[in-house]
């Protein structure tokens, strides 16, 4: 919803190895992680955002037994090839597809390997990255602006998730499972927790 009307979005390119979106109505360019319009008639606008969960069928059915599944009936050769090559994202090393590196504006932040999988958490004006392979089996707690973020690994899917340790209402901080290269380009100089 932009200025009270629904705009229709799709991907039009890459920047720093990340998808760039545009809306059909104005051809404004939007950051697909932050929801910010950065070029075009709506530059400066920002979409409201919510976390989404990357998980597996078995884990989803435990948490949401009756969840409906939205299935695309679109078929094309690119769709088939991309679906086969990247059908697993959570626990794989991953690789940068051809052409991604050429869109990077600088070398990837060398503090971590560029394809490190982790949980990016964003609260107000600060972002932190929790590398998946550094989170102990029992999870960790991290002090943040007078509150405590708890990061744990899902028992069934192994996916990291962050909650507020002191929140009984179920509110969770903004978060996304992401590769280091994308998160560090979007949130330069973010903290890595735990530090290596």
């Amino acid at each position: 919803m932009v200025n009270g009307s629904i705009h229709h979005f799709g991907v039009v390119g890459l920047s720093n190895g990340l998808a760039v979106m545009a809306d059909e109505e104005t051809r404004t360019l939007w950051d697909h992680i932050t929801g910010e319009a950065f070029e075009g008639p709506l530059a400066g606008k920002r979409l409201d955002w919510w976390p989404i969960r990357l998980t597996t069928t078995s884990a989803a059915l435990v948490e949401w037994p009756a969840v409906p599944l939205l299935v695309s009936d679109y078929r094309s050769i690119p769709q088939r090839v991309m679906g086969r090559l990247q059908r697993r994202k959570i626990h794989t090393k991953g690789w940068l597809p051809p052409g991604f590196r050429a869109t990077m504006s600088a070398p990837v932040d060398p503090r971590l390997d560029e394809m490190t999988q982790g949980l990016g958490v964003i609260v107000d004006d600060e972002a932190r990255f929790y590398p998946m392979d550094r989170i102990p089996a029992g999870g960790l707690e991290d002090a943040w602006h007078g509150r405590t973020v708890r990061v744990v690994r899902g028992a069934r899917d192994g996916v990291l998730a962050a909650t507020w340790a002191d929140d009984a209402d179920g509110e969770i901080p903004m978060q996304l499972l992401t590769r280091w290269y994308g998160f560090s380009f979007t949130y330069p100089r973010c903290r890595i927790v735990p530090e290596g």
Binding site: I6, V12, H32, W50, T56, L69, I90, S105, F185, P188
Partner: protein, 78 residues
Amino acid sequence: MSVRIDRSNMKVIKRGFQFQPFRPTSDGGSLATAGLADDEELLVFGRGDQYRALIMRQMVYHHVAQGELAGEPYLVTF
């Protein structure tokens, strides 16, 4: 959080979209009876107490799913 991102090497097309966005036209069928493998990767999103699941290997192509849930428009990006 507003951040200044260097996009000096951005590459975008002038017209259309690179990938067909997914625009669901129904509320979907039950995940429980869909016959997916236990380890099939999904994206699950929600509004209020309503949730929907998307198949990761389909979203790898579409990148964008857009529709309406709980009376509100949504946009899921990957």
